[in-house]
Amino acid sequence: MFGLLLGDFSSAFGAIKLIFWDPLFDENFASYARPQLLVKAGPIILIAIGLSIGFKAGIWNIGAEGQYILGAIFGASVALSLYPQESILIFPAMILAGALGGFIWALIPALLKVYFKTNEILVSLMLVYVAENILASVSQGLLRNPEGMGLPGSRNLKDYPSAHNSEILVNSGMHWGVLTAFLAVILAYFLFLKHQKGYEIRIAGEAPKAAYFAGINPSKTIIFCMGMSGLLAGMAGLFEVAGPSGQITMSFNSGYGFTAIIVAFLGRLNPLGILLAGLLMALTYIGGEIAQLMLGLPGASIQLLQGMLLFFLLATDIFTNYRFKSKGS
């Protein structure tokens, strides 16, 4: 990155190789990085699929990060209240609770938009800051590990077999959340391609007036889109807190809710595109970690790289909005 700024081509090439190539193909990193690819891509894809449903309808849920946090808190609360009982039903109950948490949090901006016409961008975003404060509160209070010697943070769910979101295949990074993300991609694909609801959503986004006159209820569309995106974000939060993160802490959320917005656009709001964009974005995270380690780049440079990626993609709109013409014609 620095190289790119200074115009030093070879070091820029080295940095790009370190970020995009080495995590997958360099034997020093691959054994760690390859499973991480799925671990990181899973939640991002899951959230982005949910967001893309709303974005297609012109409903801008920017607060997925908050829904993700609330999902994690709801899901973890179920597990922590049942500890140390063991049952096969606990994990499914956690998933439901997580989905519910995200759903409720997303329903607030949705209902406010339906009944009061408030701007969902601002409300959902304000709720992220509220959620972060709730997270800080519960990790020091309600959900704190009673055996944690007063340190903030909940019990580690990795030590609680019934609640642990374990890998399905050892060392693949493939946990239940990743599987759910793949399922969500397939379901979203059919929603938009085959299902009437998907068609209605697209109409509502592209021609709101036509949708209205065709009897598509805008309020229902808003609630469906916001609800779905919140539901998926909440589930992503639960899978993260029960798996890779393991515990509710003040900073367990890694900004996936915001990255997912980029991914949704990078993937052109297309489920398959989002799948690929999510994997690419996960790669920049891992490559970024390696670059931090090897080149001493600050963590935020990855955010810059991700933002630039989005800009380059948005700039390609020039090819859809304009046509090249030779002089004669």
């Binding site: 990155m1 801008w60 920017i62 406010l112 009061f116 016409k117 408030t118 701007n119 961008i121 601002l122 409300v123 975003l125 304000m126 709720l127 800051y129 509220v130 404060n133 709730i134 800080a136 509160s137 915001f258 917005i261 980029i262 656009f265 780049l297 600050p298 963590g299 935020a300 440079s301 990855i302 955010q303 810059l304 790289l305 991700q306 933002g307 630039m308 989005l310 800009f311 948005l314 700039a315 709109d317 020039i318 909005n321």
Partner: protein, 307 residues
């Protein structure tokens, strides 16, 4: 003037300082939205202004250079947004979000070596005579130049928008882009300039956080101020003086909750810290209930002369 252990003079004077960054960013964004463009990148431009302003102020030890450079940096970053949305016609929401990401990343990257340094002090200007008035003097008339600048800027924007030809053209472009184009106004050029103005004021607002309010540089230090500025524009129904009112209300809540935390009121810290955001939501609902919807007609609609 001490009520419940809170000094009212200090509270109001702190309120004005706390509100200034958001006020500056919001008044710029109000102009941008008046021209029919929704720039969600305010947070990114603010944080870039914060870091650039800090770097130049620390290196020159002259705060005013910091503010000028912050304005330039904010405007330059907004050019990126302007080119993408006005010429390439990309989606304004996505581009604005991208701008925020880029701003947060860029600022953290270039600000790394400056963490933990103290900035030069922005000196206060005691307005002669007025600052000698008891209570009101120390409350309102002994601030630094940027606080006064922000209020003058609001007055100027209010005047220009409602009373001058430039303001009329700006509003025409924002209300009905096709009609403005038919009248021969350069829609894209006017919007481009409005976006740059918004970038510059957001930059100054950011620099005020890192140079006066905190005064230090830490990564991500704007902490959502840019988003609150966006909410304020809606709160103000796109009217400049109401932006001022909203910013001071919001600043008041922020300062009050800090004061309540300091004197140890029996309300959990988290509830106090989330109160500004909750109040913003309540206010947004209130505005929708009782206010008029006066959003510029062409807000966030792309424009090309051929369509």
């Amino acid at each position: 003037m001490v009520i419940f252990g809170i000094d009212l003079v200090l509270l109001i004077s702190a309120l004005m300082i706390s509100a200034t960054p958001v006020l500056l960013a919001a008044i710029g964004e109000a102009v941008v939205e008046k021209s029919g463009v929704l720039n969600l990148g305010v947070e990114g431009m603010m944080i870039t202004g914060a870091v650039i302003g800090f770097i130049f102020a620390v290196n020159t030890q002259i705060p005013i250079y910091g503010f000028v450079c912050a304005a330039i940096a904010g405007a330059l970053l907004s050019v990126l947004f302007a080119v993408l949305t006005q010429y390439i016609m990309s989606n304004q929401v996505a581009t604005g979000l991208g701008l925020t990401m880029v701003g947060l990343g860029l600022s953290a990257l270039i600000g790394k070596p400056y963490e933990g340094i103290k900035s030069p002090t922005v000196s206060k200007i005691e307005i002669p005579i007025l600052s000698d008035i008891p209570i009101l003097g120390p409350m309102i008339f002994s601030h630094d130049a940027v606080v006064y600048f922000s209020v003058i800027l609001v007055a100027t924007v209010a005047f220009v928008i409602s009373k001058t030809r430039i303001g009329l053209v700006l509003r025409a472009v924002g209300e009905n882009q096709e009609a403005a184009h038919a009248l021969g106004y350069k829609v894209v050029r006017i919007r481009f300039l409005a976006i740059m103005f918004g970038g510059a004021t957001a930059g100054i607002g950011g620099a005020y956080i890192s140079l006066a309010r905190v005064p230090q540089w830490t990564e991500g230090m704007t902490a959502g101020a840019g988003w609150i500025a966006l909410a304020l524009v809606v709160f103000a129904s796109w009217k400049p003086w109401r932006v001022l009112l909203g910013a001071y209300l919001f600043g008041g809540i922020t300062v009050l909750q800090l004061n309540l935390q300091a004197i140890g009121v029996a309300i959990p810290v988290e509830i106090l810290s989330m109160s500004p955001y909750l109040v913003t939501i309540v206010v947004l609902v209130g505005i929708s209930l009782f206010g008029h919807h006066t959003a510029p007609g062409s807000l966030a609609r792309p424009f090309h002369a051929s369509q």
